[in-house]
Symmetry: C5
Subunit: 321 residues, 5 copies
Amino acid sequence: MIVDCAAYERGKRKQAELSMRQAGEAAAEEGTFVWLGVVAPSEEEFKAVAAEFGLHELAVEDAVRAHQRPKVESYGDTLHVVVKTAVYVDPEEVIELGEVSIFVASDFVITVRHGNADLAPVRARLEERTDLLEKGPGAVLYAILDHVVDRYLEAAHGFDQDVREVELQVFGEGQNPTERIYKLEREVLEFQAATAPLAEALEELCSGNFAVVPEALHEYFRDVEDHLARVATRIENFRQLLDSALEANLTQVSMRQNEDMRKISAWVAIAVVPTAIAGIYGMNFEHMPELEWSLGYPAVLALIAAVCLFLYWRFKRAGWL
Amino acid sequence: MIVDCAAYERGKRKQAELSMRQAGEAAAEEGTFVWLGVVAPSEEEFKAVAAEFGLHELAVEDAVRAHQRPKVESYGDTLHVVVKTAVYVDPEEVIELGEVSIFVASDFVITVRHGNADLAPVRARLEERTDLLEKGPGAVLYAILDHVVDRYLEAAHGFDQDVREVELQVFGEGQNPTERIYKLEREVLEFQAATAPLAEALEELCSGNFAVVPEALHEYFRDVEDHLARVATRIENFRQLLDSALEANLTQVSMRQNEDMRKISAWVAIAVVPTAIAGIYGMNFEHMPELEWSLGYPAVLALIAAVCLFLYWRFKRAGWL
Amino acid sequence: MIVDCAAYERGKRKQAELSMRQAGEAAAEEGTFVWLGVVAPSEEEFKAVAAEFGLHELAVEDAVRAHQRPKVESYGDTLHVVVKTAVYVDPEEVIELGEVSIFVASDFVITVRHGNADLAPVRARLEERTDLLEKGPGAVLYAILDHVVDRYLEAAHGFDQDVREVELQVFGEGQNPTERIYKLEREVLEFQAATAPLAEALEELCSGNFAVVPEALHEYFRDVEDHLARVATRIENFRQLLDSALEANLTQVSMRQNEDMRKISAWVAIAVVPTAIAGIYGMNFEHMPELEWSLGYPAVLALIAAVCLFLYWRFKRAGWL
Amino acid sequence: MIVDCAAYERGKRKQAELSMRQAGEAAAEEGTFVWLGVVAPSEEEFKAVAAEFGLHELAVEDAVRAHQRPKVESYGDTLHVVVKTAVYVDPEEVIELGEVSIFVASDFVITVRHGNADLAPVRARLEERTDLLEKGPGAVLYAILDHVVDRYLEAAHGFDQDVREVELQVFGEGQNPTERIYKLEREVLEFQAATAPLAEALEELCSGNFAVVPEALHEYFRDVEDHLARVATRIENFRQLLDSALEANLTQVSMRQNEDMRKISAWVAIAVVPTAIAGIYGMNFEHMPELEWSLGYPAVLALIAAVCLFLYWRFKRAGWL
Amino acid sequence: MIVDCAAYERGKRKQAELSMRQAGEAAAEEGTFVWLGVVAPSEEEFKAVAAEFGLHELAVEDAVRAHQRPKVESYGDTLHVVVKTAVYVDPEEVIELGEVSIFVASDFVITVRHGNADLAPVRARLEERTDLLEKGPGAVLYAILDHVVDRYLEAAHGFDQDVREVELQVFGEGQNPTERIYKLEREVLEFQAATAPLAEALEELCSGNFAVVPEALHEYFRDVEDHLARVATRIENFRQLLDSALEANLTQVSMRQNEDMRKISAWVAIAVVPTAIAGIYGMNFEHMPELEWSLGYPAVLALIAAVCLFLYWRFKRAGWL
């Protein structure tokens, strides 16, 4: 589905909306480029676009199917950039991935979006930056990547908060955080798989090998690369922290087991005392002088209570109760 | 055993079937190449093929023996590519590996297959793509690698499902998944060993150093490389997840042990009470007023029941029962 | 907020203090450079500075926002160096990070500081080293980096002491150090993330690609690089040690659990004896000769005491008590 | 001790056996090379060889002392290759390492063997391959390396079987495999240390920098490199598997502990019942109607048996017994 | 403190001892070089040396302060090499580190020693090797590095023995080796940090970029590099082994806990029997025929003994006792 299609000349949007045929013509004009936005196209639909703009068979397949790795590939003069979008959905603690395929040539940009990645705000913000738009289709590529990587930073922030919550669970009382740690680890791995290959792609874009990324934009792409490197470091640290949290959690579980065992043992020891003492005075010897004392019974009850209290006090002092 | 042998000219299959001698002659014709398919040949058999097409002694040994690593090697003008095929057999949760040796020169392709890797569908599909076949023997190499790597993605999908099942076992009730995790880890390692070296081989094929892989096919090989990179990332993630699952499982085992211990202790504590109380009233003191009360016995039974119920309620509330 | 601004000619400070306008003029003089120190500027404030000295839009954004990765970037003739400052706050065992952005061109240095990184002592010390200051703005860059990396060594020293304390806790009696180990690991990771990227930046500065770092200063930057490498090795070792400490701690917890279990069991065994013996003499058989002995009762008490003492002695000898 | 010494011309052995002096002369002849085999020589002995063939002081030291790392070094025109031989001794599950030092120049090969590495079969087999021998001393080097690396594959096979046995022990009943896993890990590490550096050495030999390894032999050395890569992958996998086996084993130990604890607890619970019930009827109340019933005693015995059986059945059903 | 200072000409020591002034003059003579040995100099002392031989400010600082990383740095024509010396002190199981700073130019060598690194034997041995000394100051550098790295091998040998002792402790009876393993790991990390950077330094020395290391000495430095690589592999293996030992130890602790638990439980089960049986015959039913039997009492005692012995035999057979 085509969602927006416009021609840009000297950094300004020329007309409100173009049909695909008009787009092809506008692109052919000197000093003008077209930005065509498509969302989750069918194979049919996108083949028409590909025919109009001369896209490579394999790139078309990639763009329609989604589930690609982030990458930069040049098919002749056309650059094909694939990038994953990521949103961290906090209540479920999952990372939701989308995908944007961007075809960039000297006179057009085609963006194919799958999943959660609204590009309308990117277009709106960019149309206000005439100075950037003047630099041609490469500026559109920059604006999209910048937007996508800023979303990564937000997602990383979401992870950060959940990792801190997990830490509180590990070292606090309460329910067992093992499953949560594991699930977070799974999501972090997925996030890493989606973002890590982009680093290489960005490096290539900064290398000056591609005509559609003019020298004047290199600093902008380098800036995106830098933000991505921050995301990468944070993801790596999440993995380290979750690994350590898993191990710390195991230790805490052992510690708590030990505390429970001590508490249980202490109570058992206290309960064994009356049984043992009562057992002795339950023996049937003929000559047991205490049995005949008139205060024998209360004395023994007092003895039992005294020993139990003494044990309770000792265990309390030793921290077992 | 030769399974199929045909000559191709300008992207079209010339005759239904050739004998090996005819194949050698057909290959010598200008603008024609031969595709000879062999399955698990004996040394004898394959030496005849090698003699006809001038293959190197060492390559022959590799092709007959199987158990090679994936690789690309050039013996003069002939390229020797070895690739592992993989099928994930789900009920047994094992990865079954096969092997395909491909000899590619400007005028012939020889494919030697061991194990589970039927190439007939690849040939059938490729024969419909005249545009690709026109590009020569390199197109055959592409078609096979593309097919093999797509099978890897299917195998990775199979692993994915089993890893998710294992997770349910780790965090759910039921039997001990330790052995299953370990066995999956073993299979993942084997899968990785079979697929990882192919990445380097594919990079070499894209490097433009080999005449049999013309420039026009580079984008196709790059596409295969890309799919392989996705497989590699998933395998790496499986390893990470299984590692974490093993550790999480240990923690869960400890947790469950603790829960059992608490439950056992609670019941022991409840059982100790009647013994202790009964012990006291089993003492033989002469002066124990309660013994003479007419309701002494039912009162003590009630006391015992009350204490037991109280303990039961406390343990229930504390989550030990 | 501008904190200090002065012009330097032939290694000497020319005037006490300049306004920003004067600074721009002074920088334009031959053989003179200006050092402008700014602390946590607002976007407004810093845009004025950027306009005066012609700084790039993206660099300005970085300098104002902080939270950048350490890096070296050249925007035309101007070098933009970002470096993290680190202070280890011992009682809380946290690493406190600040940030310094340094813009270096042939005729000016602008330092933008965020957080804990007083540069006044650096300026004071450098003004006494005429021989270094003569080498131009690059010397200022060196002096700052040298200062920052020396602070890293101090922070590493702080970590070292806490790691040693943690070791004593792991192998001594006392409270559970799991949380402390985990928290230290978190801080070490943050410290590493802040310092590691600087290595690459320093290597670039030594590469001779930047005019503002003259050959004569290479040895000085190499010296800083060397100190940073020492910090990196120590951080890596802290991570290894804390990892091992976490595992050793788990083993110690298990050991202590075992000791507790033995101790508990020994006491339970000792307590079971009187109950069992007393039980036997509490049986109601008509023919139990011992019951009629006049010394039966004291004999049994002595027997109980003897068995208990014997068990106590055995457990003591076996190290269970 | 010199074990065999012969001259080769055009791929054929010239005379049965040469003295060292004769060897030196034969080497000097055009188109002839000498292969001198030495076993564990004394320093004296080997200094004579070194003087005759002009070997470097340091190389001599290496060859006599053994305990070198695998490596390729060129001393002028002479190549010095050191390689470790490995035999897996199965009953003891240890890897036994030997060492072969090979000096290769255009007109001689000197092989110095320490430990378990009989080169006689290599020589015998090579003497039948005139086509290889014709290629000069480099062919001898190839034949030895090929032989050594094939032995590695056998050793890896031996490890494989023991790793599989260990797996059965981890997941089966029976003795504790911890020590065996650890010892295997130690041997795998030693095997890896002995074989890994050879990869780099082989790469150098294939690089075409050494005159004694002619182009025609590159494919042969590449083949050895390939086999070595297979060994390396397997070793790496052994390490991974043994690591996981160690962790899985710990989990199994915990599982079994839990099972034991449940079994013990169940029996204790069953044993506590008669004590508690008997305790109640051992109380001395005057008014306990059951005591006077004529079937009271058998009824209580029946009650005890019933409760015990009920508990036994419940524990059985819950899988605790 | 200057410990030895001599001039060497054509590989021979010229005079017994020189003052520093004489040393400067001797160094200026053609074909002569001076070797000045200093031990732990004060800043004053070493500044005088530096002035005489024209050493760089930063190098002087490094040499006086010690605590540097191993490295090679060239300040103009002067090479500054820093190397750590290591001695393994066995009874304490610690690695003791020292440091040697070596300044090498075409006409002098200055060695600055801190800590445990007596260079007198190096000088003595080298003075007997005229052939090496003839090659100039580079030979002195070689001799020192060779000596230092040989000490590393000795230290590695010391570690090896302690690692083997630790293994015996892990798998044998006796005290808990956790702390010892951890401490060894700490020392290994320190040893690694001290030796690893030297590899890079040695590679640089072999690169042929430095005039003071003539081609004729490359093979000697390569030999040292090789020995260092052996040290590095062994250190890496120690780390792996200690890691595994820590985990194996945890498993052994769990195993032993399980054994203790079984033993304890078996005794408790045996002790519960007399209590339960005696309890039954302690009931006060009027109609308990056994109580009136004249052999009732001995029969019950026999029954108790029989059941206890039966249980003992069963537990013994099951390996719990």
